[in-house]
Subunit: 263 residues, 2 copies
Amino acid sequence: MNNLSERQLKTIDNQVTGWLAELGQQVRQGLGANRSVQTKEGDFRNLVTDLDKSNQAWLLDHLRNLDSQAHFVAEEGDLKRPETMVGHVWFVDPIDGTLNFVHEKTDFAIMVALYVDGQPTLAWIAKVMSEEIYHGGPDLGVFCNEQKLPAVVDRSLDQAIVILSGRRLLSGEKPYRLLAEKALAFRVIGSAGISFVRLLQQQATGYLSKLSPWDLAAGRVLSESLGYQVKRLDGEPVNMLLSNTVLIATNKMHLETIKVIKD
Amino acid sequence: MNNLSERQLKTIDNQVTGWLAELGQQVRQGLGANRSVQTKEGDFRNLVTDLDKSNQAWLLDHLRNLDSQAHFVAEEGDLKRPETMVGHVWFVDPIDGTLNFVHEKTDFAIMVALYVDGQPTLAWIAKVMSEEIYHGGPDLGVFCNEQKLPAVVDRSLDQAIVILSGRRLLSGEKPYRLLAEKALAFRVIGSAGISFVRLLQQQATGYLSKLSPWDLAAGRVLSESLGYQVKRLDGEPVNMLLSNTVLIATNKMHLETIKVIKD
């Protein structure tokens, strides 16, 4: 499948939405059970749970069945990454916000995205604990479960609630500090998926963080579809196969931010 | 009423819980409607809505009916504040997290607390959008709606998710910076009530902020009842009639924090 028709897009959207509903239910049921927690790359902040691994395996199995010629980019394990965005590329983040998952038991997400020849095409963010699945894309529109979401209002920086990476703000990186100072208020949440949900719900106006491909892929599809700009701080497009420092914001806020950082 | 019996405490708990359920429903229904927003004290971050004022008037009416001899401390208007904590003192925050209320339409709370001769006695935090009312006190225990909450696990600082005032962190105040650096992770939420809820649910381990009496009163009653320490950073008790920089944290985290700040 390439050059997907609207009917094909809808079929895939329904299929994956159903899987995420099923997976979300499993996760909620499993939250009472003990989980084995390991640290990854020696960093105790970067926790991997059994559930990360089993969610990813389950999702990859189903997606490979659906789209056997596709390439896959996923957070866990030693999956061979594609070298280009040609054809179908699926991105999977089995638990985004693992530290929140382990310690807060809320504010984590499961994310899936499909890009076709580099074009953002379809995406899903499952906000597991509140049983909300955000899904859709540029052709279908964006939905929270069955409800269609409106296009974003073009707010300016001084009226913006901006979400920032706490660790990067703390390490004194200039763009984070400037946005914290110039915005109406800032928030630190600890999950890319939940941050994107706040943008989709227009509870926040901007989000600045350094994001891995699986952190960014789904949120980019959905937020661009509602009218947000998703760009690097120099105004250049993001590279979906690398980590990017990326600002997701309204048009106005994007222009103002680039100006503020240059000054 | 003074030296309240357990039966009297339960009666008051049920009464006020019912009022907050009713008020929460009104607020949720009103959220679609346009609200008139004014700025207070020339600070655009400090928004006052009609709803703040009408919620407070409604709550004070009902509380005065219940407890006619009591004193009242509330956020809005020119209510005369008591000079001592003798007798019954009620604290009312009609919308805590007004900026979240206006911009995010989530993460705000309604808070009420009763102190008797300075003793934390009963409190309520209504997490309006998720229809949760946290209530109880040292004699009754702490409940989320009907469900009793367990005592807090005594986690240490390096295992803590700590909630910080974003503006104070940004202005470079040392204790905020130190906690952000030493904790497992930090969050910025923008509402004292929601921060306290995260402590009660053990989704966070500590919370540092400068809080007005109405920001602190209910959260102090409920968090102390579950075993948290609620103290100033010098280890001294808080003064309920003034603003305090206050750390709410587990025993271990409190001791470690005081040590870290002294070093």
